[in-house]
Symmetry: D2
Subunit: 369 residues, 4 copies
């Protein structure tokens, strides 16, 4: 299998199941010398924590991170950084009735077919809790990017039919609104919609957008590891994401070239684009404009209605799902998308450092002095 | 950099520029014993060849493949398969005027920033000709998948606003229509639209869909190498693709869970899904239904209008693009999407062979007899 | 950096420093369905534990393993297996005086040059304790190999000038002798030699041999991932190993072809070799004979004599090393060599499962029934 | 399989069989902007060419390299560099009699077991000609290293019992002597010995040493990708190598710590070691001293005596090998060892460029101006 390691020079290796002992991540290749304390990570983890608003599950998960290695006297050492969060609020009993049943919209059936059996408690490795490791690793990458003036910022663009209005865009609102929308008014309507879904024992999907400001030009390895391909891999690997768009995304397919090309222009010796249909990426490399990505997230498959399905004996049965589930995963997944983008960008920025022979010779020339 | 190698167990390493000596691919890890001749590959390459219809460029490229290694007495040997196509119809002179100019919608500027200079002839490594290596490798993978009853089939879903009608879906039409549409009527209208764009010195985008029938259940490595994440990486790495959807894709974000969940049902002991909103993938693993992916392709950036841009001196200039360019790349990119999906699926199928301890022990138990 | 992940299909990601919170490993790609409890792992860890005999350090390290993920109801689930050992017996004070001093034979200077600073306590990441993760991962691989009748067995071949005598080879002695020698008489003399070294405030090196019985023919990926190249990488990556030999190793360079070639012979339809100079590997693939590897281990650099060196200010100083150090690391490193060989072999055995097209088609043919 | 790709940031993908159309390599990740022409590569290939002296095979192989991609206007572009050598002097008929016979000391039997059949002509992929791709790639790496004042130099240390004398070490002699020995007198004796072996229809082995001067301190990724582990992997992957030593290598196992530790000393503010038992590597990282590696090469298994073996039917038979074979491969393998060391070192030097956070921030800080 070997599908739980991500990255080229920066490798993150996540582990853990929803109802196991703990979850975590090992980050190999993170550079030495960055100041780091658990608070830097905790503040990202708290953004994906449930129970913080009316629109998430009522489960309480403290999700306290422990730094187990790779940090010495407050700085990263260049050796693997191991981060762990203990599971504390698991109620495995909620899952006894689905031990042998394949929930619609979940991976239960696929797990059984692939591995012969599965940890049926809380989705096991396919739980949303799997993203804890991603967020912990992303917190480190975001901190380093931030020190270079690069801002990676994700937010909720829409939930159901409720979409934000760009004219009301308020960045501060992302961290304070229940839905992670940057628009207080849309947030209010989205909350109402979510609560209506919940009352109907139903759930909803939504769209997450990520914008990256300040990235250098030329990041991305042409051909297979294009920046957009790499970001797509990273974001599509988040459970529940069913589509990824870069820049104007799907809209470009119905357009003409004269509408879609972004004219370059020079302003005070600085090259820029007049428009940004490309979403900051041309030929798989960052083009200096804001990088824009959207992820389409499906509605939570765990709904509290009786559903038709089959069991592991191949019999037609009906299933009622118990437990505490978010009626929408979008608000909590925002930080996950942001973190996967930060990890991917930093990894490709490292790769880019050896793109020219003179980068290498001048690096080692300096060294020798 | 190292961005021109793709795959885990099946590694393809593509090389070559539009106006260089040749282009090709080395396939490492392809299994031994499959019958292979150059015709198997040529028939895929011919699908991406230009000059075959009214809606592609008038360039003639014979694109004859040579098998240089890895095949002995008509069968693959298990060692690297090296495939090469010589460039023969290059007119580098067409590019002299853009040597120092950054074409809108192209990667020229990014290349210069990343590498310090670039091969400006025909887009160099960012040319559509780069996909020759992908298609040659995909031809092999498709042949092996086909021998297992797995069919990977891509087609043009829409061009501009002209979309196929499912009720007229005719598979045979894909290989015979000028647009690679499976609907002769839509093909006719699309051709008209393309020709109108061409007359307007403009270009158009479109949507390519790929469907995979017969894939086993459980393919895909949960977490980072989910089947959908892997396919997205592969397809988004094709130049001009700006969005990738799996199954119902973008549509799911506005849906409720009760609408989006696919009920499982058992028919004569066989587990299947009543609907296929998931596009054949749950939790990153194939679920037994048809796998469905859509790629949104931007309009060709090379249009024959005067465009504003900058040159490498940072001066505002206008540019007129010469040469022979497709007014739409979609028809020729269909086989590229199909091939990238075939490569990705086969690679993850190989990975899946060791997902269970008893698979390994029974494989080697058999060996020892 | 990214140097703490090893493997192709079976990826182990180790982490942890000598005086940090804990050490551990994440194993990604281990197949599902193998029975596993902590005892299976503990018994391997106990073989590298210090304080168990007169010839190792007097430090007491309980080194109790915790299984944090990837095991459910006593079986591996196919998802990442996270294993952790807490550090409990660390006396960091022993290292205060070397905070700014580069110990001869140690990596202190290299760490400072590479990373700008270092965790100076107990060697940090270069401590022998780093091997805990390797041994924990190797225990799982050995168990699976063993279920297929494959035995990976390492032992001490020599310490200083004291070498085992093949005629007295007693496998049971490996686990019971203080030196891990399979020869009680040699063990006795080696212990005397070690104690003499200790009294002289000195240390000694030695040779570890690993033999693998029952491996299938054809394991190893020709060219760069030859079985011998892969084993060498794995074993040379263990701190203190300075040479690796396969089969007759160094001796072959002074030999003639007629002396070194192993004649094949057929016995009752079974192909075998009359001799085994090759050490079970030809052309980078296992040849059916016993696989034999030897690792040459340098004497412990931490000796209790005053040594000349420099400090981080570039001044010439003398250093006296404190703490509790093994006068020889060989006996405790035996299980590390064994584990690295088991991991490497299993990884390449997985790789080999897709070497032929008919292996793949028959695997998935079976699946579809 | 996937064993023909080597490297982390610098990936080389070699291909080709002894009697196929051609052999070659694709180098992905080589930095842009280095001047390169075919002469730079040809001069390395000529060092492994046969027929240049009395002690190699009489086969004539012109081995002219073609640069197919990745170079534009005399400089590398940062995109994959494809290099090819056509096979011209193949006499496949020499191998007809071994089509079904397993030659002692060769991989024939292993190939058949692994892949089901094999290209029996000239060893196929296990031919010494496979190293053409390695040498072509190494030529580029050596050129870049050389521009940084780093010299990678391999030579023949011994053939049979004839060893060079350090007091007569003459670097210029390496390229001019028939054996690639840096000692004219030893070369003379070695030639006599080789000719004697040839007359006896026998062959001989030898030792190749590689020394690297001027490498920066700190190269190597601790734990699994230690510089010594990486070099061992690279060198042990060359056919016929059966042992690899770093620094004093095997000799350290019989030594005491007080004899083996290299004292550090400061000379005019420069840290150096008084001795170099470590061979320039401590804790897996370069320590500033000369890096020293030795490879032990087995005698050519193709000897012109009747040998006992089995055929593919499992019958005991005798075999007489025809064709033109080197009585010793050492002189021609010297450049292969040198090239594998150059590739490995450069790859790890690239990896090292991101070892510190401030390296990354200052690199991109510079970029933004």
């Amino acid at each position: 299998m070997a599908g739980s390691v991500f990255g080229k020079n920066l490798k993150i290796s996540t582990w853990g199941e929803s109802h196991g002992e703990a979850l975590g991540v090992v980050i190999d290749g993170f550079p030495a010398g960055m100041e780091l304390n658990s608070g830097d990570i905790q503040k990202f983890l708290d953004r994906r924590k449930p129970g913080t608003s009316s629109v998430t599950t009522s489960r309480k998960e403290s999700d306290k991170v422990e730094i187990l290695s790779g940090v010495f006297e407050g700085r990263t050492t260049g050796t693997p950084i191991s981060l762990m969060v203990r599971n504390t609020s698991q109620r495995s009993g909620d899952y006894d009735n689905i031990r042998n049943i394949y929930r619609p919209g979940h991976a239960d059936y696929c797990f059984d077919e692939k591995y012969g059996f599965r940890d049926y408690r809380g989705g096991g490795r396919s739980s949303g809790r799997e993203t804890i490791g991603r967020v912990a690793a992303g917190a480190l990458c975001s901190k380093l990017l931030s020190s270079m003036g690069i801002e990676v910022m994700a937010f909720t663009r829409s939930i159901g039919d409720v979409c934000i209005d760009e004219s009301r865009f308020d960045k501060n609102c992302i961290l304070t609104s229940a839905t992670a929308m940057p628009d207080a008014e849309a947030d209010k309507r989205a909350c109402e919609y979510i609560n209506m879904c919940r009352e109907q024992k139903d759930s909803t999907g939504g769209v997450i957008e990520c914008r990256i400001k300040g990235a250098p030009v030329g990041i991305g390895d042409p051909v297979f590891d294009k920046l957009d391909a790499y970001l797509s891999h990273a974001v599509m690997s988040i459970g529940a994401v069913k589509a990824v768009e870069i820049g104007d995304g799907c809209a470009v397919s119905a357009r003409k070239g004269s509408q879609n090309n972004d004219a370059f222009e020079s302003m005070n010796g600085h090259v820029q684009k007049r428009t940004n249909h490309s979403g900051g990426i041309l030929g798989g490399m960052s083009d200096g404009s804001e990088i824009i990505l959207r992820a389409h997230v499906k509605p939570t498959p765990s709904i509290f209605r009786t559903q038709d399905t089959v069991n592991s004996e191949g019999e037609n049965v009906s299933v009622n799902i118990h437990g505490r589930h978010d009626p929408v995963v979008v608000p909590r997944a925002v930080v996950v998308v942001e973190c996967m983008c930060a990890i991917s960008l930093l990894d490709l920025m490292i790769s880019n450092m050896s793109s020219r022979a003179d980068y290498i010779t001048s690096f080692y020339g300096r060294e020798k002095k």
